[in-house]
């Protein structure tokens, strides 16, 4: 039996997180009543002209910086001409010859580097809504003109696992740097996959097949595996793989041919005369670079190294940006990463890990104060939990609340120890009795300490101290 090598390249689209669309000032927002986020520009009215959204260019540059790309000093927009009802102008403003970002790439956990060819900025199309037979098909242009980046990889992946990891890493970077939300279920991130196979040892690549319409990670995996098997079957039976574009049907779990190479469209690209070439000065790029937060790969290194967290804890924190951001905020206030991660894991995550919206309803300040009070033995374990629950419910000041309710002892440790020593030396009989019936005598000691401290002592602390002392 012959052995095959798989070659995979991805073209990944992500909608940018801007307030407004790419070439007009309409809201960039998912959903909404059909055709309510529209203006003459994004519906392609005669006479309307595009004006580039500077923020969209900046976010594209940032995306490039996250993926280690070179940023072109001059970027040009081209028109990609084709007819389809969701494309209001019959051309899409895109980039061909001088995209904003070139090269770069992403390192997988295995150490393998997956190269990017480019990242360019373009506009999204509207959406066709298929109604009943009598109504026909309607067009919603709300999404038309939304800024989209296309990240094109080199054919460097050799399995669906690698493709998925590459995709996940792109997505993580975009989310961490606040460039895109990448909500796949809303079409905020979409993917075309190029797959070819060749016999092991063969020099030249096999014939490439492009698959479109892939809208989830699971579907990427299924589509690749389906395609690899399909091509293997063809080659094994002595056939030839046809260069074509196929549409993936996730429900049926199979792909079908859309068009062959011979029918491929001629997009008649040419520079958009309405948009002047964009100059990108070096200093702007450096300014944007400074705005970038720590990216997942950098955070991972820090958590494992500097903070000494376990692989498990690190992965857990990095699995969602909110977790990691919250963790970082906490560590900034209370520099004990391990204590913080334990609390996040045992308390915070139990409450939200199954929620869709991962909203952490306690402030970093409150959480770290609770941890600190507990670790200084100013509050009991029991009270720390109660306090946490209270802070989750409503936005109160944890320390204030602990003081008000008497959870928090305002005595210093030294003062308390002095008082406890006094109580012990004033009650030699009780000390004697404690050795035989500690459970009976302990409440007496606690009562005495409470009396002397006017109830400010922490009973847990007292119990522990006296037990130690009379052992």
């Amino acid at each position: 039996m012959k052995d095959y090598e798989i070659t995979i390249g991805l073209e990944v689209h992500a909608e940018l997180k801007t307030n407004t669309k790419c070439f007009c000032s309409c809201k960039n927002e998912f959903g909404g009543e059909p055709n309510t986020h529209c203006c003459p520009i994004c519906v392609g009215m005669p006479g309307a002209l595009p004006v580039i959204n500077k923020r969209a260019v900046e976010l594209t540059i940032k995306a490039g910086l996250c993926m280690g790309c070179d940023i072109n000093d001059i970027a040009v927009f081209e028109r990609k001409n084709y007819f389809y009802p969701d494309l209001s102008k019959a051309y899409q403003i895109s980039q061909l010859v001088r995209p904003i970002c070139l090269h770069g790439g992403v390192k997988l956990d295995s150490g393998k580097f997956i190269r990017l060819n480019r990242i360019h900025l373009e506009e999204d199309a509207g959406k066709l809504v298929h109604k009943s037979e009598t109504v026909g098909t309607l067009i919603d242009y709300n999404r038309g003109g939304v800024p989209l980046i296309e990240m094109v990889s080199e054919p460097d992946m050799a399995s669906s696992d690698e493709a998925l990891e590459f995709l996940a890493k792109l997505r993580e970077n975009l989310i961490y740097a606040d460039i895109a939300e990448c909500k796949m279920q809303e079409g905020g991130m979409r993917c075309d996959v190029n797959v070819s196979i060749r016999e092991k040892g063969q020099k030249e690549f096999g014939t490439k097949v492009e698959m479109k319409n892939i809208n989830s990670f699971k579907a990427v995996e299924r589509a690749i595996n389906f395609e690899v098997e399909r091509q293997k079957d063809i080659l094994k039976s002595g056939g030839k793989v046809r260069q074509e574009t196929r549409r993936w049907d996730d429900v049926a779990g199979e792909s079908s041919s859309m068009r062959s190479k011979e029918d491929s469209k001629d997009y008649r690209y040419f520079p958009d005369p309405d948009i002047l070439a964009i100059e990108i000065p070096r200093e702007n790029v450096e300014k944007l670079r400074k705005e970038l937060p720590l990216l997942p790969a950098e955070r991972k290194e820090k958590y494992l190294g500097e903070y000494g967290l376990s692989q498990y804890d690190t992965n857990l924190l990095l699995s969602e940006k909110v977790y990691s951001d919250f963790f970082e905020a906490c560590v900034k206030l209370y520099n004990k990463p391990k204590s913080v991660v334990n609390w996040i894991q045992s308390q915070v995550l139990t409450l939200i890990k199954d929620e869709d919206e991962k909203e952490i309803k306690i402030s970093a300040k409150n959480l770290t104060e609770i941890i600190e009070m507990l670790e200084k033995k100013e509050i009991s374990q029991q009270d720390s939990r109660t306090l946490f629950a209270k802070c989750w419910e409503e936005n109160i000041d944890a320390k204030e609340y602990a003081k008000k309710t008497g959870m928090l002892s305002t005595l210093s440790e030294d003062e308390l120890e002095k008082i406890m020593d006094e109580v012990l030396s004033e009650n030699p009989k009780a000390c004697e009795d404690f050795k035989s019936t500690p459970d009976k005598v302990m409440p007496f000691f606690i009562g005495q300490v409470m009396k002397k401290t006017k109830g400010k002592a922490n009973s847990e602390v007292v119990r522990k101290y006296i037990t130690e002392k009379l052992k």
């Binding site: 005669p46 006479g47 002209l49 580039i52 001409n81 009802p85 008649r268 690209y269 309405d274």
Partner: protein, 478 residues
């Protein structure tokens, strides 16, 4: 007094000085339009014109402050959007489209107090040089009913020549303002590319299109350009270059003019050559100097133009697809047929010809040979022309080879029609400003135009030079 003979500035002054009411002015023009309906220059008269005039008169009665051109009536080419009015590019494909917003030039004119009284006829989608290719029918020359008014802004030029408005706006992609201005004996300027916002102008070739005024005199032209020019946040190709006071003609004693060898070569066979020779003689007598220079690629103007303009047009006209804005074919059964049949039925022959031409030059395999090559030559040509402005104030050349031709005389071969643009496309390809002013008479006493060009954004100098020549020629005619 025949009010319709007056220009923009004079009319505004009369209204402001209460020598005439705005309503009288508008009514005089509407009457003239009605009487000269056969010219077919105006495709729609706006029903609210009188109402707008009454508002102005009310303002005057109440001594409210008046704007610079308060109450001045203008007609606008049928490819510039006025909110709430139909706009159709003289295409039956667009016959029901109502503009949802104002073009920037319209906003600026409204702010100056101008009243719009109608839409001007044109060649369909501004493609043509005779205004014979309009869904509203042929437009006639203001001075000779048997001749064309030129094109594509033929309606705009005829309307000025026949006194149907104080002034009009046209658009010029390859000569579409200057050639009809010349044919109707009026003034027409194509400003520097980027001088006037294109927002709200239905694009033909985006990198060449400019809006400009057509007027009865030079002062009006400068005043209107002053108002409509300037940077626009809605048009990335509009220039931030400061707008000078064009209407203050800063006329010098003498000027230095440049004549292009290749143009002279072309003029050898022109029957109108003596008219231009005479102008040069007059200028020399006034002490003006002439230098000769060469634009080696001059003969490539038309080929460059007929690659770039159709390439952009084919993309710009894609949005007219029968899905939106345009008329959908009743015979279309599916989405592909909506495109194919609507576009086949909707566009006229000349528009289709240029769409095909443009699609061809952009198609893969031909892109470098045509589009890229034309782009490179455009740069070379621009340098060849603009270098001369280091040693001369302005370039002089005819606007057209001859006077307005007879209707129907250039119907058979499209290239005959394309040759009409032989002297005008140079300014579009190189981006420089160019004005056509009436400069004499040719066959059958029909008017001829002289074209004056200066360097980019030198409109101030352009008007000064134009005023110098205009005064000289008027003195001669007087």
């Amino acid at each position: 007094m025949d009010l319709t003979k007056l220009g923009v500035i004079e009319t505004a002054k009369l209204i402001r000085e209460k020598k005439v009411s705005c309503e009288e002015v508008i009514k005089a023009y509407l009457k003239n339009i009605e009487e000269k309906k056969a010219l077919n220059a105006v495709v729609e008269v706006f029903s609210d014109a009188i109402l707008e005039a009454k508002k102005v008169d009310e303002k005057i009665k109440n001594n409210k402050p008046l704007k610079e051109l308060e109450g001045v009536p203008m007609i606008i080419k049928d490819n510039i959007l006025i909110k709430g009015k139909k706009v159709g590019c003289a295409s039956k494909f667009m016959q029901n489209f109502v503009a949802p917003y104002d073009a920037t030039v319209i906003t600026k004119l409204k702010n100056a107090g101008v009243i719009f009284i109608g839409r001007a006829n044109m060649d369909e989608f501004a493609m043509g040089s005779s205004t014979e290719k309009s869904c509203y029918g042929i437009c006639h020359n203001a001075l000779d009913f048997s001749r064309v008014p030129g094109g594509s802004s033929g309606g705009s030029a005829c309307a000025v020549g026949a006194n149907l408005a104080c002034a009009t706006l046209g658009s010029d992609t390859g000569g579409s303002i200057r050639q009809p201005a010349s044919y109707n004996g009026v003034y027409g300027i194509k400003p520097t590319y980027g001088r006037v916002s294109r927002f709200g102008l239905i694009a033909f070739a985006s990198s060449l299109d400019q809006i400009g005024p057509l007027t009865k005199n030079l002062e009006d032209s400068a005043k209107l350009l002053e108002i409509i020019a300037g940077d626009d946040e809605h048009d990335m190709t509009s220039s931030k270059e400061k707008v000078d006071k064009y209407s203050n003609f800063d006329v010098k004693k003498t000027y230095k003019f440049a004549i292009c060898d290749e143009v002279e070569e072309k003029m050898k066979d022109m029957v109108t050559k003596p008219v231009y020779d005479n102008i040069m003689k007059k200028l020399q007598e006034k002490g003006c100097q002439f230098i000769h220079f060469s634009i080696k690629d001059f003969n490539l103007c038309l080929p460059i133009y007929y690659v770039l303009a159709p390439a952009e047009a084919t993309s710009n006209l894609g949005r007219f697809d029968g899905v939106k804005y345009t008329v959908r074919s009743e015979n279309a059964k599916d989405v592909n047929e909506i495109y194919l049949k609507s576009r086949s039925e909707g566009f006229g022959e000349e528009v289709k010809r240029r769409i095909l031409l443009g699609s061809y030059v952009l198609s893969s395999g031909y892109f470098d040979a045509y589009y890229n090559k034309a782009k490179k030559l455009q740069m070379r040509l621009t340098k060849q022309l603009t270098d001369v402005f280091k040693s001369a104030d302005a370039v002089l050349l005819p606007t057209t080879p001859n006077v307005a031709f007879k209707i129907g005389s250039k119907g058979d071969n499209p290239v005959d029609m394309y040759l009409e643009d032989i002297f005008t496309t140079l300014a579009n390809i190189t981006g420089v400003p160019a004005i056509s002013i009436p400069c004499g008479k040719g066959e059958d006493d029909m008017p001829l135009g002289l074209q004056i060009m200066t360097d980019k954004f030198e409109e101030k100098k352009l008007y000064s030079v134009a005023s110098y020549i205009d005064t000289l020629l008027k003195g001669e005619n007087a």
